[in-house]
């Protein structure tokens, strides 16, 4: 039995945590939240310099060719520090989509730039409220252009290239659309979590190149999203751990009626419940990354399990961390709301809890799934 990261992987975690503690303290998050910025560009450059954006991209395309174990470690630290970065959009989604579906030429063109962080990528899936139904997308690809409205698209305001999910007469396609063109109109959209940017993209005969010059099976897209779900689960775990740590520290230091509030069972049991959910989320995230890294047939089940556990742990820890702080937790000055905002954002970005609970049971009973 060796259900643990390796020494080297633990070293990577230490390194990542130290770097983010230094260059992404919560002031960094607050600065983005308090401004119109959509990211902290200098932090992005630092992260790219470390090679984090290159982690799982093969060496042939300028990447480090490491495994998803390493990426999972970075994802957790991204969540822990609530980093104001387009890391998930560019790394878990855009890079992975190009790697999975791109032609050799497309991979050679884009992956080195995404690996180096010189380009930021994102994926445009959503069009309207409700669960995402791949077979009902209104965005159309005709010839070498694509038209439609995608919203919200995370990090589009800082992206260079966007992978747009669309239909052509042939079926579902993922289209590479460079942002810098007249056919793409980008308009900022405010969300819960102002430390990350979101946009509405209006595509009006935008120049587009179909990834792999072919349609993709919905199940192949779902395989991609399963992989991203594992990474998001690690990021959610990081958020949950930060919220628990903050709550615990406050409970030890804050006194009421002559004793630390952490000595009251109401607070103790609340924090114990957070610990339990975080532990379940962590163990399920291990299971998820194992299935992803080993390309196991268990991936759909493991990814859904990790995702549901991550959603539940992050939401609970973020909500109850505020409660543990009482009135202080409801102020702008305390950092509690960063976790609250990010936890909810992450729970929505690739389909929400009910959708993944359904996918989980499909994984258990081996039924196909359709919605996200």
């Amino acid at each position: 039995m060796n259900f643990e990261f390796s020494e080297e992987q633990h070293l990577l975690r230490d390194q990542a945590r130290a770097l983010l503690a230094e260059f992404c303290p919560t002031d960094t998050v607050r600065a983005v939240l308090d401004s119109d910025n959509e990211w902290d560009q200098s932090l992005w450059e630092r992260v790219a310099d470390m090679g984090w954006t290159a982690t799982v991209i093969p060496e042939a395309y300028g990447g480090l060719g490491l495994s998803h174990y390493e990426l999972a470690i970075l994802a957790e630290e991204m969540g822990r520090s609530v980093a104001p970065l387009p890391f998930s959009s560019s790394v878990y989604l855009a890079s992975e989509a190009i790697l999975a579906f791109g032609s050799e030429g497309q991979k050679s063109e884009w992956l080195p730039k995404l690996a180096s962080g010189e380009c930021v990528g994102t994926v445009a899936m959503w069009e309207r409220p409700g669960a995402l139904a791949l077979e009902q997308l209104a965005t159309r690809r005709l010839g070498d252009t694509v038209s439609g409205v995608k919203s919200p698209v995370p990090d589009a305001g800082v992206a260079d290239v966007v992978v747009v999910l669309a239909h052509s007469d042939a079926g579902l396609e993922a289209c590479l659309v460079p942002m810098d063109q007249a056919g793409v109109q980008q308009q900022c959209v405010m969300t819960l979590d102002g430390s990350r940017g979101h946009s509405t993209l209006t595509l009006d005969n935008a120049q587009a190149e179909v990834l792999g010059h072919n349609t993709i099976e919905p199940s192949a897209w779902e395989r991609l999203i399963d992989g991203a779900a594992v990474m998001f689960a690690w990021e959610q775990l990081g958020v949950a751990e930060s919220a628990l740590t903050q709550a615990r520290d406050y409970a030890l230091q804050r006194f009421a009626f002559g004793r630390a509030i952490g000595s009251y069972q109401a607070i103790k049991h609340k924090l114990a419940a957070m610990y339990v959910k975080n532990t379940l989320a962590r163990s399920n995230a291990y299971y998820g990354v194992w299935a992803l890294a080993e390309n196991s047939a268990d991936l759909p089940l493991a990814a859904a399990t990790a995702r549901v556990a991550g959603i539940q742990a992050a939401a609970f820890a973020a909500e109850e961390n505020i409660q543990t702080h009482g009135g202080m937790g409801f102020t702008w000055e305390f950092d509690c709301h960063f976790y609250y905002r990010r936890a909810k954002l992450l729970s929505l970005v690739i389909g929400s809890e009910a959708v993944w609970q359904d996918r989980l049971v499909s994984g258990l009973t081996h039924q196909p799934t359709v919605a996200m």
Partner: protein
């Protein structure tokens, strides 16, 4: 069992309805005013015709109405969207305190303009170090001839920036045990040395303030109750708190959930047909209807002359977490769009997201979930208090971490 007014109640309701229909401002000039100006204008109009502070004695500007009449008035007034929140704390909590503890002269001087809305009051109790432990306050008042000099800091003061007067609890003897060394004063919010700083909430709004006191001079005549009796006076204020705060969970209800669930799809069909969605909606309706009919039962008791009791804590204890859970779930139903807060773009103009951001505050203000559960356990079920480590020891010796 029926939901109808008694004949006397029906007559009163009719009178209220008629007066409202003739007096609610509808002109553009009114709507051009600031909310505070609107509230003051409307309050004064009610006061002039005897519809302000209905339960108060007429000598203080009220009408001497019964509790059930007050409820009927609130129901009818609530049919119009009028600003009344500005006076809740002053009229709901501080008025009754003045009636109980102030001199006859002070009652005559301060109660009528409080009822008419001409003077607004705020409450200065909470402090940064206190939290749920209200009596752990550190703001000091030291005697100076016939006056007292106040130094310290208060927090979570609603309306400090527009209030004319405030009531404050301060420590006048730190060598006594926590609850014993306190005294209670009313103060002029514009006195020299009073400094008000808004607190930005996690929603981005600023409904509360920090208030700093630097050598603020207060006459001993502004003291309510004896020196050292401040905690008892404060309890009078707090006993009226839940009546003053209550309600107001906003329009995050099952009707909204159904509307959203009918609008969006889940698993290829309208979300309202999804059993998991139905289960959640059913549970919320059980809570919503349960609270509604609990309210009807309380009204019936009021109507028969009973006084409102600590049972009312359940409204907030059930309603605030429900608001949070419901907002979270409805955002989930919207998928990635659920994160959008732009009023112009968000479903239902973003009220769901605002509810989600506001819910943590609802679960805290006026007593956290845990405090509410304590109140039910102790005051309804009669369970004993937690052991109190700070009881009977000098305030200066109480551990503070």
């Amino acid at each position: 069992m029926d939901f109808n007014d008694t004949p006397a109640e029906a007559r009163f309701r009719e009178e209220a309805v008629t007066w409202l229909s003739h007096n609610v401002p509808t002109d553009d000039a009114f709507w051009a005013l600031t909310p505070l100006e609107q509230a003051k204008l409307w309050q004064k109009r009610k006061y002039d015709d005897g519809w302000a502070c209905l339960g108060w004695a007429t000598e203080f500007g009220g009408r001497g109405a019964s509790p059930i009449e007050e409820v009927i008035w609130r129901q009818e007034e609530a049919r119009y969207e009028l600003p009344t929140n500005f006076f809740l704390i002053g009229q709901g909590m501080i008025g009754p305190t003045l009636m109980a503890w102030a001199t006859a002269d002070d009652k005559a001087r301060y109660l009528p303009p409080l009822a008419s809305g001409e003077e607004v009051w705020c409450q200065l109790f909470s402090e940064p170090a206190g939290g749920s432990d209200l009596a752990a306050l550190r703001t000091r008042a030291e005697p100076d001839g016939d006056d007292w000099i106040i130094n310290g800091q208060k927090i979570w003061t609603s309306g400090a920036h527009y209030a004319d007067y405030g009531v404050i609890v301060v420590r006048t003897d730190p060598t006594l045990p926590k609850h014993k060394g306190l005294s209670y004063f009313y103060i002029d919010m514009r006195a020299p040395g009073v400094e008000i700083k808004p607190i930005k909430q996690l929603t981005g709004d600023a409904d509360f303030n920090e208030v700093y006191f630097t050598d603020v001079r207060v006459s001993d005549r502004q003291r309510l109750g004896e020196v050292g009796q401040g905690w008892q006076v404060a309890l009078t204020t707090l006993m009226n708190e839940r009546a003053a705060i209550g309600g107001g969970i906003g329009k995050m209800d099952v009707d909204l959930a159904i509307a959203i669930a009918q609008d969006v799809e889940l698993d290829g069909q309208p979300a309202i047909d999804n059993a998991a969605v139905r289960t959640r909606i059913a549970d919320w309706y059980v809570q919503e209807a349960g609270l509604k009919y609990t309210g009807y039962r309380s009204l019936t008791a009021l109507s028969r002359g009973a006084l409102p009791g600590p049972e009312n804590s359940i409204g907030k204890l059930v309603g605030a977490p429900k608001m949070q859970a419901m907002a979270s779930f409805l955002m989930d139903l919207l998928g990635a769009s659920g994160a959008i807060t732009d009023e112009a773009l968000a479903v239902k103009a973003g009220i769901i997201q605002r509810a989600y951001m506001g819910a943590p505050g609802m679960r805290i203000a006026g007593g956290t979930d845990e405090i509410m559960a304590n109140i039910i356990a102790e005051r309804v079920l009669g369970l004993p208090q937690e052991p109190r480590l700070d009881k009977g020891i000098p305030f200066t010796d109480v551990p503070t971490g």
